[in-house]
């Protein structure tokens, strides 16, 4: 069977036969003026036909370092100093003066001086004092070191193995002076097999195979004459560096869609919030541990926030102190307006919910109001694999007449069913601003486990009454953090991944889990 090769491959084979030596691939590519990849693909064709091959060899390449390159231009420090002496016709000089003139860094200056002495161009006699040198030579021929340095004027990179014994000594000197770089390289040596050396070119058929259809081929109709080179269709292509939505945003958007489909309107509120909307309006007593520095971020700037209308502030104050008109006995302490004015990075989106209740009051709105929020919150936590100081909270709220705990269970099961969890369970729980309260867990079939999702409940009358939301109008609420679910969803073991952007992961992460 005759051998078929592409024209380019035949040309390369011809040259290799003429040369009749082994040759390094990149050198050959340079000589032939072809791309290295094109050459290697041609060599692969030769390999396929048992005509040639290559082997890999390790080699060292040496080149000048950044500092070395500057000496190529300006001369070594010793030459630079000498030039000063010669230019000014100085035979003897105080070292300090010379140094001032030379404008060299202290270290380099002394390297230069020591080499001047080594070259026997100058001397420094103890008798005349340490600080003086004398020019003693008449001629200053190029040193071995300088000759070696010049080698790099034409060739930036030199093969270490071809250095002579003498040159190796120069190399060591320069290398010690950190003027050289030495790097290990793998090179490919191309050779022909016996068959490749002996095969007459005339016996080889030119293969009319192309890898790409060109516009010219199509318009001229010559495409018919060519074979299209087959691709290995089983191999994956290189990773596409394309645009993509962040996995967490993807999940956030899925949840926002669920809320939308359930008839909820999205709300947004301040991230830097007053303690008033964060805690006081939620009936958290002012000595509550959750308000302390180890749990909540407070701000030095801005230090205080403005409080809302006086009568509402008074209503909240009364509720804390004696229950106000809510029917509660209250906490029984003296409420301090200044504590409520403090600014915090909101630890929950419920602060925004409170603002929505206030808006409901101010606008004298009608029920039902169904709103949701998926937004950032902050807790004073040290960051580690499973803790964040800033994360995303999901919250859903219904303001309506005669809504019940059983309605809330209905909402929760619908919400989590849409998230893909078929079974939910609610248990007694405790949150300072809801009563009754429920903890929610869902069954995750992939792990055959119950997962704690978050909290839920009906807002306490102490929370809603100051905003005119009174029996039989009630507020149902539920909420949860998002990142823990995202970890399961995307199979991550480190919660910080969602905010430190490992680009490889972002490029490769699938959305459907």
């Amino acid at each position: 069977m005759s051998i078929e090769l592409k024209k380019q491959v035949i040309d390369i084979l011809k040259i290799l036969q003429e040369k009749d030596i082994e040759i390094e691939a990149s050198k050959l590519a340079d000589e032939l003026n072809v791309d290295y990849i094109v050459l290697m693909s041609a060599i692969n064709d030769l390999i396929d036909n048992n005509l040639g091959g290559f082997r890999e060899e390790e080699m060292y390449q040496v080149s000048l370092s950044q500092e070395g390159l500057t000496y190529l231009e300006k001369g070594l420090p010793e030459r630079q100093i000498l030039q000063i002496l010669l230019k000014n016709e100085i035979k003897e000089i105080n070292l300090d003066d010379l140094r001032a003139e030379a404008k060299l860094d202290e270290n380099l200056f002394y390297v230069g001086i020591s080499n001047l002495k080594k070259n026997k161009w100058v001397t420094q006699s103890k008798a005349t004092g340490e600080n003086k040198i004398f020019l003693i030579a008449e001629e200053f021929p190029e040193t071995q070191l300088e000759k070696f340095l010049k080698k790099f004027e034409s060739n930036e990179i030199v093969d270490y193995s071809i250095l002579s014994k003498e040159e190796l000594m120069q190399f060591d000197v320069l290398n010690k002076r950190k003027l050289m770089n030495k790097v290990r390289k793998t090179q490919r040596i191309i050779y022909l097999t016996k068959k490749g050396k002996s095969i007459p070119i005339s016996e080889i058929q030119e293969l009319k195979q192309v890898s790409k259809i060109t516009s010219e081929m199509l318009s001229s109709g010559t495409w018919k004459k060519y074979n299209l080179k087959p691709f290995d269709v089983t191999k994956p292509g290189p990773l596409l560096k394309a645009g993509k939505i962040h996995p967490l945003v993807n999940l956030i958007n899925e949840i926002r869609e669920i809320f939308l489909s359930m008839g909820f309107i999205e709300i947004r509120g301040p991230i830097i919030e007053s303690a008033f909307y964060n805690f006081d309006a939620l009936f958290q007593p002012q000595d509550h541990p959750a308000r302390e520095l180890q749990d909540t971020f407070y701000l030095n700037n801005p230090k205080v926030a403005k409080l809302p209308e006086k009568d509402r502030v008074l209503a909240v104050k009364k509720t804390h102190e004696n229950g106000g008109d809510s029917g509660s006995i209250g906490w029984g302490y003296e409420w301090d307006e200044n504590i409520a004015k403090k600014t915090v990075l909101r630890p929950h989106t419920t602060a925004t919910t409170m603002r929505r209740l206030a808006q409901f009051y101010r606008n004298n709105e009608k029920v039902p109001v169904k709103v949701f929020c998926v937004d950032r919150v902050f807790r004073n936590e040290k960051l580690d694999k499973s803790h964040l100081a800033e994360f995303t909270q999901v919250e859903g709220i219904v303001i309506d007449d005669n809504v019940t705990l059983c309605d809330l269970i209905g909402l929760l099961s619908e919400f989590y069913r849409k998230m893909g969890f078929k079974k939910i369970v609610t248990r007694p729980g405790f949150f300072p601003y809801t009563e009754p309260s429920m903890e929610v867990s869902v069954y995750y079939d992939k792990l055959d486990e119950w997962l704690e999702m978050g909290g839920s409940g009906i807002f306490r009358p102490e929370v809603t009454y100051p905003w005119g939301i009174k029996e039989p109008t009630r507020v149902l609420a539920w909420g949860q953090g998002l990142e823990r679910i995202a970890m399961l969803y995307y199979d991550r073991t480190d919660i910080r991944d969602f905010y430190i952007n490992p680009i490889k992961w972002l490029r490769e992460q699938s959305y459907l889990k």
Partner: protein, 558 residues
């Protein structure tokens, strides 16, 4: 959340029922307890209780609830308080330092090892959950037979009284010395900070029982031979000191001891007798409870629910109302609504049906909606979305970007977790640069964008700040330049239909290269900046290739 350890064998003894670990794990959740950990080998469980139920801080307290759940005992547990003769006189001088005290006497104690451990543990829990780390309530437990009544609660000058404190070196110390030198004094001195007199309890011979809320005297140390206890609870909240006393004394009573009352004599003839374990009566509308839960329980059914959670309930004389009695160890009932949860727990959350109420038309927030559109355009332009914290460091945000800033003019967190998170971001770009730093060895080109919140100081706003949504994009590779990023910006503007409404005005900015920077104007007002990043900024972020980037305020597009 606080946790306590329960030995199954001890719990079985208290409940009076054989308990299976698996069943117990299941059952505890329905009375508001969370099983943290099960130790099958040692037959122990660790349970978490909610801070509103400090009565769950002992096995005795949990057993009370379980007995109701299993219907072994229903209704309010009864506790006998024998009237005692011991009196404690309260001097008005305590008003300005630690105004309240209540006391109790516990007789015939014969505690085993576990019970002694419980007594220690419950004090710790009460100090935390009710006492706010002793500030609101501090507990003293004394050997009654070492002291001679009547006792006296008063306030004295710090250096006027000395006594030998518990856990000290065995030498008398005055109150000031205790705060400076004694371990407990150092730990709790802050509670008495700024006071010129300190609270103290003497017996009739002027021997010191206690220096609340710091330390007891060595005189009344409880030992194995102690037969009777005197309890003092001091604090700043009258309800809280009573609650802690009630929880402590009912738990001790469950251990088989006898409770005896103490006359606490506040000046002006106001004498109270404590502990007062009488249940508190509430009148609650039956319909209200059913309405909130969403059930239609009959009177009998509802009464049973309350009995199961260890309350007593009865049809009230008032039509449609219930009289409900709450045990004295419960401090979490503030409002009739609290009975709805109690009733639901009695009924069993697992029995609650779900109802579906549909309706309403949903909508996204306009800025979020717009952000989603922007994301789609950026994805189309080939940019990868990233997310960063709003928290950041002023170093990254300003110094690394060569931006000058005035410390008084940026958001400053008072208690940051670390220097890396001492402020909130004003621009997104610095964190994009940081993302490039962390990913600089990844395959290039790297083109990233973020749509996210930034925070600006604004004294006109209620919170002194406002949040705005920005878009920032950066391209990082050998060939990245102004032309490329300008094309990207143009693509956005065209996709939004603003191609004729915006212009770039050349300007200078320290973060960018001179001559390759401009400010973006939309309909005449500045909405952003675009350019090639300055080499010094690139080096600050340890980058090896050029970066071209822009940042846009999306708020201005709405």
């Amino acid at each position: 959340m606080p946790t306590i350890e329960l030995k199954i064998e001890r719990l079985e003894r208290l409940v009076g029922k054989k308990l299976d670990l698996k069943e117990l794990e299941y059952d505890l959740q329905w009375i508001g307890l969370d099983l943290e950990d099960t130790n099958v080998e040692e037959q122990k469980v660790k349970v978490e209780y909610n801070p509103n139920r400090p009565d769950y801080s002992s096995p005795e307290g949990i057993a009370r609830a379980l007995k109701g759940y299993y219907e072994l005992e229903l209704g309010i547990p009864s506790y006998e308080v024998r009237p005692g003769e011991i009196t404690l006189n309260v001097d008005p001088s305590v008003k300005k330092v630690r105004p309240y005290i209540v006391c109790g006497v516990i007789r015939d104690i014969d505690l085993d090892e576990d019970e002694v451990a419980t007594l220690m543990n419950i004090q710790e829990h009460l100090h935390w959950a009710v006492g706010r780390d002793r500030r609101k309530v501090a507990i003293g437990v004394h050997d009654l037979d070492k002291i001679i009544p009547p006792y006296r609660y008063t306030a004295v000058k710090p250096d006027s009284v000395s006594f030998i404190p518990l856990h000290g070196d065995g030498y008398p110390m005055n109150l000031e010395e205790i705060l400076l030198l004694h371990d407990k004094g150092i730990e709790y001195a802050h509670i008495l900070e700024g006071k010129d007199v300190y609270p103290i309890i003497f017996d009739n011979n002027d021997e010191v029982l206690s220096f609340p809320p710091i330390i007891n005297g060595v005189l009344t140390t409880v030992t194995n031979d102690t037969e009777n206890l005197f309890l003092d609870l001091t604090g700043t909240d009258f309800k809280a000191v009573n609650l802690a006393l009630n929880i402590l004394s009912t738990t001790l009573s469950d251990m088989g001891t006898k409770i005896e009352s103490v006359k606490v004599n506040y000046q002006g003839g106001k004498e109270i007798i404590t502990p007062n374990l009488n249940p508190k009566k509430w009148e609650v509308k039956k319909g209200y409870i059913n309405d909130i839960i969403g059930l239609e329980l009959s009177l009998t059914e509802m009464l049973k629910c309350f009995q199961k959670i260890r309350m007593d309930a009865k049809k009230s004389k008032k039509n449609g109302y219930l009289d409900i009695w709450v045990p004295a160890y419960r401090g979490d009932i503030m409002h009739p609504v609290d009975f709805t949860e109690e009733c639901a727990i009695g009924y069993g959350y697992f029995n609650l049906p779900l109802t579906i109420r549909e309706g309403g038309v949903g909508a996204y927030h306009p800025i979020q909606d717009f952000s989603s559109k922007i994301r789609k355009i950026m994805i189309g332009a080939g940019y990868l979305e990233i997310l960063n914290f709003i928290l950041t460091s002023s170093e990254k945000q300003y110094d690394f970007m060569k931006q000058n800033y005035d410390k008084t003019n940026i958001v400053e967190i008072a208690n940051p977790v670390s220097k890396e998170y001492n402020t909130t971001r004003k621009k997104l770009l610095p964190q994009l640069m940081d993302t490039l730093l962390l990913n600089r060895s990844e395959e290039k080109p790297i083109r990233i964008f973020e749509v996210g919140d930034i925070i600006l100081l604004d004294p006109d706003e209620e919170t002194g700040t406002k949040r705005e949504v920005h878009l920032s994009a950066a391209s990082y590779h050998e060939e990245a330049d102004f032309t490329e990023i300008r094309s990207t910006l143009d693509f956005i503007m065209i996709s939004l239909g603003y191609e004729n409404d915006f212009e770039i005005k050349p300007n200078k900015n320290l973060s960018y290269i001179d001559g390759r920077y401009g400010e973006i104007y939309l309909k005449g007002s500045k909405v952003g900046e675009i350019g090639e990043i300055h080499p010094e900024v690139l080096l600050n972020f340890k980058l090896e290739f050029p970066v071209a980037a822009f940042e846009l305020n999306l708020q201005d597009f709405l």
